[in-house]
Symmetry: C2
DNA sequence: GCCTGGCACTCTGTCCGTCCGAGTGCCAGA
DNA sequence: TCTGGCACTCGGACGGACAGAGTGCCAGGC
């Protein structure tokens, strides 16, 4: 177990390194923090911290930098979440309040997060499986062609074309629309499959094929489009990453293009509270030198999706966690209002 | 006027520089291209080309690199568009054919372009103003709340919430829906304002306010969402940009985040044929060391939107132009089918 | 008149040795 | 257990020498 002072030393190292981006030595530490002991003592502590794997030396005779394990300890035990200031909170709220629709909410959230944290922001669209159905609309575009529009309580809209096996009259369509909505409106998406199971039975034989096709498209939409959409912003902040650019930045850009990777990343995070994944804790190799700070958001107590930021492991954790948490909170409010 | 051989020399310089990314000297030129003259002669030609501003020397005693003006001449006079090979064309078609909806078409197009050109791809969604209306749907979500869904012939769907000044019955809504569609279905979006002008007059006094609100939201959607949406991909290719990374890449990433800039960029390009904007020809400063290759796409002869790539001025113009043109052609086909 | 080979010149990038400073580890003493 | 002191190590900066690539110019040849 590390002594109190050694924890202080670790905290000081993390703070200084995050600030200066340069390995920090014992002398500089004692000058910038009032630890009450001499550099020599700090050196002993640092040696101990290095033995335990919390810090490391890039080269002999350079200062120390925190390891992933060091950051982990820092985040878990040494740092709190830095709350936003009142003006910041107002700015967040004002900015988000201007949104006109869901796309706009998400777009604004991304911009906001990127600006506040000066890192890459990732915002997931409200997930279908965790939303409820507001309305299902069916539009006849041609005799054997129907457009399916799905509207969620979070304002998300999905549409799909359905090619019907047989022509489908307006009357049948209206009938299907009415029956469908009476069953699923207001229900959770996860319940939809069960709720529509026996729906074709109520229709004429010649229409059953079409009804079944429409329903299977509906279920497909639920499954496939599932959690798939997200928006990314602030990639220009990657240029502040470090000195050894090309090698570091490339895999990160690649990871950001692979939405699957990002979705998995966000998915792994816990539902409640801010989750931090540091460096190698991220399963995806390209993100081994980055940390992901994420949190769920939603209206009421429900988490409908996640948002977060991706940045260098050397980041201001308390500030980033504060910003992420605050933004999530306000996005939740906005969604609840709409 | 430049002699034929000097044009050959310029072409050779561009080709070599694009290949090697290094300033090219007279000796290397004669070795790699059969110009039929000695290095000394080439040197004279190069001096002339430099005087005319087509090439430049990074330092005395280094080889020459093309200037923006040099690339311009190369693109206009010296290089054709390199057509895609048959296998490439098949690959494009297969890849795009798998798309399930418009979002998917655009997403696949972006990936494809980025992969083919190994550069940053930008694809604009089919513009509303150049599309025709397929259907306008109105859904009553609450007594005084209507959702407006706009469907275009290119498969694009836009939705908006409308808060009505007064409750609006289902019957009135159906009435409005029917009248609205009978007027605008199949018509160009640009004609819509004119076509709906006098629509409120046919309604009861108490409903007129709501009708007007719905219509103005509709018109707003046309104007605001106008050309606004686009998708970007392949940013990881920026890492292949050059050696002097951070300074070059940063403004480009920033420009890519500013969709307005990109839209303007695409907008400036001509409607027909592949447009190339080289270096300083781009009005936006951050893109001064990049070239933009763009082209319109659409079903039939109509251009409904643009797509293109952003890359270093030192790019393979013939190949890039070929890829961009081919992709645009196939996207047009896909849209025409849907 | 145009092309060519030759030559002197210039500049960059690299390699190498030196030096300085930061930082460490260890030890003896308080 | 902490502290001051000291020797040691190593990386980064500085500077000179050098090789190589590329140029411009000139005189001569077709």
């Amino acid at each position: 177990m590390l002594s109190e002072r050694r924890l202080q030393v670790l905290r000081a190292i993390v703070q200084d390194y995050v600030g200066t981006e340069e390995p920090v030595g014992s002398k500089a530490l004692t000058e910038r923090h009032s630890l009450g002991v001499s550099p020599a003592t700090v050196r002993n502590d640092m040696a101990a911290l290095e033995d335990e794997g919390y810090i490391a030396q890039p080269h002999t005779s350079a200062g120390r930098i925190p390891t992933d394990k060091g950051y982990r300890l820092f985040v878990d035990k040494l740092a709190g979440v830095k709350p936003m200031t009142a003006p910041e909170r107002r700015a967040i709220q004002n900015f988000l309040d201007g949104a006109v629709d869901l796309d706009d909410v998400v777009a604004r959230t991304v911009r906001l997060l990127a600006q506040l944290t000066r890192q890459v922001a990732v915002v997931q669209y409200p997930s279908l499986t965790r939303s409820t159905v507001r309305h299902v609309e069916l539009l006849s575009l041609a005799p054997a062609r129907v457009m399916l529009v799905l509207i969620t309580d979070t304002g998300r809209v999905e549409q799909r074309m359905v090619d019907c096996p047989a022509p489908f009259g307006e009357a049948s369509l209206a009938d299907l629309r009415a029956r469908l909505n009476s069953r699923v409106a207001g229900r959770r998406f996860t319940d939809v499959p069960r709720l529509v199971e026996d729906l074709p039975e109520g229709f004429d034989v010649e229409d059953r094929g079409t009804v079944a096709t429409v329903l299977s498209t509906l279920l497909e939409t639920l499954v496939e489009e599932n959690e798939e959409r997200l928006m990314i912003g602030g990639t220009a902040n990657l240029t502040r990453f470090g000195h050894d650019f090309p090698l570091t930045i490339r895999p990160v850009l690649e990871a950001l293009e692979e939405q699957v990777v990002l979705l998995k990343l966000l998915g792994e995070a816990g539902d409640s509270g801010v989750t931090v994944r540091i460096g190698h804790e991220n399963a995806y190799e390209g993100l081994n030198s980055t940390s992901v700070v994420s949190v769920g958001y939603g209206s009421g107590g429900e988490t409908v999706a996640k948002l977060g930021v991706v940045g260098p492991t050397r980041m201001d954790y308390p500030g980033t966690m504060g910003a992420v948490r605050a933004v999530a909170r306000y996005v939740g409010q906005i969604l609840a209002e709409s």
